[in-house]
């Protein structure tokens, strides 16, 4: 506790700390501080306190408040957060939104000059490989053959390529743990962009479920998983270099 004689000096310390001091007053105060350890201690404590206060961070609420806000502003009821469970389509092949123009069986033969299409022509290419496939249960594997008889390796339609799966899992866990260290705006940005990648993965998986034998789709899905891996690696590092 401060006794009366120091109070006349310590009462000025906040103003001094905040830079709102006229020079003449500052000289007098600094002259006193040079001689008085007690007042110097107070100044030191105040400065440390102010710096700590500057660095106090955001505190997210313990529960998600959005549903209550949404109800009050007339927003549609928020859907539950999507889980990564893919509903496999039925065995019936979905039709391409764009029509199929080139007749696929006619083109199935390899390494032959197939057609010359004149300038400004439009070629529509859609899901066209005729396959026989057995679509498994959720998380099951599917083997498929093309008309040409090649057998494609079984595709685990529920998950990423095995060589990426472990690191993806680890990174997802790391990010969940580091979330609290990140600025809320950073978290918002990271989640939004992760959503873009997840949607692309989802669409690719659905397409692959329609055409399990499609080499392009296999490569595309693998590439999109790698994109997710790169992204999670980058996100996991952000907490470190943004400090």
């Amino acid at each position: 506790m401060m006794n009366g004689s120091h109070a006349r000096w310590t009462d000025q310390l906040s103003d001094y700390l905040d830079g709102g001091f006229a020079e003449a007053d500052r000289d007098a105060l600094e002259a006193h501080l040079a001689e008085c350890g007690t007042c110097r201690d107070v100044l030191h404590d105040l400065r440390a306190l102010v710096e700590s206060a500057h660095r106090l961070g955001d505190v997210p609420p313990a529960r998600d408040l959005w549903p209550g806000i949404a109800a009050a502003i007339g927003a549609p009821a928020p859907a539950a957060r999507p889980r990564s469970v893919i509903e496999l389509p039925t065995a019936a092949r979905a039709r391409a939104r764009r029509g199929l123009f080139l007749t696929v069986p006619q083109l199935a033969a390899a390494s032959v000059v197939l057609a010359v299409i004149s300038a400004a022509a439009t070629v529509w290419v859609g899901p066209g490989v005729a396959t026989t496939s057995a679509v498994g249960e959720k998380g099951g594997t599917v083997a498929a053959t093309t008309d040409a008889g090649a057998v494609f390796p079984a595709v685990d339609l529920a998950g990423p390529p095995p060589e990426l799966a472990q690191e993806l899992r680890l990174l997802e866990q790391t990010l969940a743990a580091e979330r609290a260290r990140l600025e809320p705006n950073t978290v918002r940005i990271l989640e939004k962009n992760l959503g873009v990648i997840e949607r692309a993965i989802d669409e690719s998986r659905r397409a692959l479920a329609i055409e399990p034998g499609n080499v392009f789709l296999r490569e595309h899905l693998d590439r999109t998983y790698r994109e997710k891996l790169d992204y999670l690696r980058e996100a996991a590092g952000i907490a470190d270099w943004t400090g």
């Binding site: 000059v113 299409i117 943004t242």
Partner: protein, 287 residues
């Protein structure tokens, strides 16, 4: 000068008055690297003819800046003892020959005239470069990237915004998650362009024996090429539509939307992969 008056100057877009330019100048030597880190707000880096570094801006902002040298690395960062976590607007001037590295969290960055290589990394904020050279590397999670006039390999990746390269000579590696890629007058022997949700627009030329790889998940790929282009083109798509000004002779059809064709003598290698979107080859008039 009071802070309110200073703010007025900045809002009016006037040049910062001389009274507010900091005395923070540091002599630089050839081979020095300049690192600017941990600021939030707006940062401009410009080259000038002196061989020193200077930091200018609002008096309060500049007061909160610390410049230190360690060997050949000169670092510009907030002074923890003085700086609040407020947005700053700073102009840093450096000689053209330095190598520049910038990092920050929410930071808009513009760089002009730096020729020793530039690396910029932030979480959000737009990044713009003009007339730069050396190895150029830009990484942002949410922010637009624009590179106008560059000599040197350019790597530019955003996650959630557009990337534009214009008048660039050198190998190119660009990508974004949710945004468009625009490549105009890009002369590269090796090019990689990848976006998930967005379009790729390429208007340039393919070097003989160059390799070009474009991937789009949900969006269009448009390539505008000279009439005498020599390239072997491989197109892969799941649900796509190909339109071409060039005659397309299919050489190989793997099924499922993968096919090859050749333009001219076929010396460059071009791969275009679009999961769901249009692929357009247009012939550019003239050269």
């Amino acid at each position: 000068m009071g802070t309110l008056l200073m703010a007025g100057w900045l809002l009016a877009g006037a040049a910062v008055p001389a009274a507010s330019v900091a005395d923070t100048t540091v002599e630089l030597r050839r081979g020095d690297r300049v690192v600017v880190e941990r600021f939030t707000g707006e940062l401009s880096v410009e080259s000038w003819s002196r061989s020193s570094l200077s930091v200018a801006g609002d008096a309060d902002d500049v007061r909160g800046v610390a410049v230190t040298r360690s060997g050949s690395e000169v670092t510009v960062r907030p002074d923890d003892r003085k700086a609040r976590t407020n947005d700053v607007e700073l102009v840093v001037r450096v000689p053209a020959w330095v190598r520049l590295e910038v990092s920050g969290r929410e930071l808009d960055v513009s760089v002009a005239g730096v020729e020793g290589g530039v690396a910029v990394r932030n979480v959000s904020g737009d990044v713009r470069m003009d007339r730069v050279a050396g190895e150029i590397a830009i990484s942002t999670v949410e922010g637009e990237i624009g590179v106008y006039g560059a000599r040197g390999p350019v790597t530019a990746h955003s996650r959630g915004d557009d990337v534009t390269l214009s008048d660039v000579t050198g190998d190119v590696d660009v990508g974004t998650g949710d945004g468009d890629l625009r490549l105009e007058n890009v002369t590269a022997s090796n090019l990689r362009a990848e976006t998930l949700d967005g379009d790729v627009y390429f208007n340039g030329a393919l070097a003989p024996s160059g390799t070009y790889w474009i991937s789009v998940h949900d969006g269009d790929a448009t390539l505008i090429l000279p009439g005498d282009t020599d390239a072997h083109v491989s197109v892969s798509t799941f649900d796509g539509e190909l339109t071409s000004d060039f005659p397309v002779t299919l050489r190989r059809y793997q099924g499922g939307g993968v096919f090859d064709f050749t333009l001219g003598e076929g010396s460059a290698q071009l791969e275009v992969k679009v999961f769901d979107g249009e692929i357009r080859f247009r012939r550019r008039e003239g050269r």
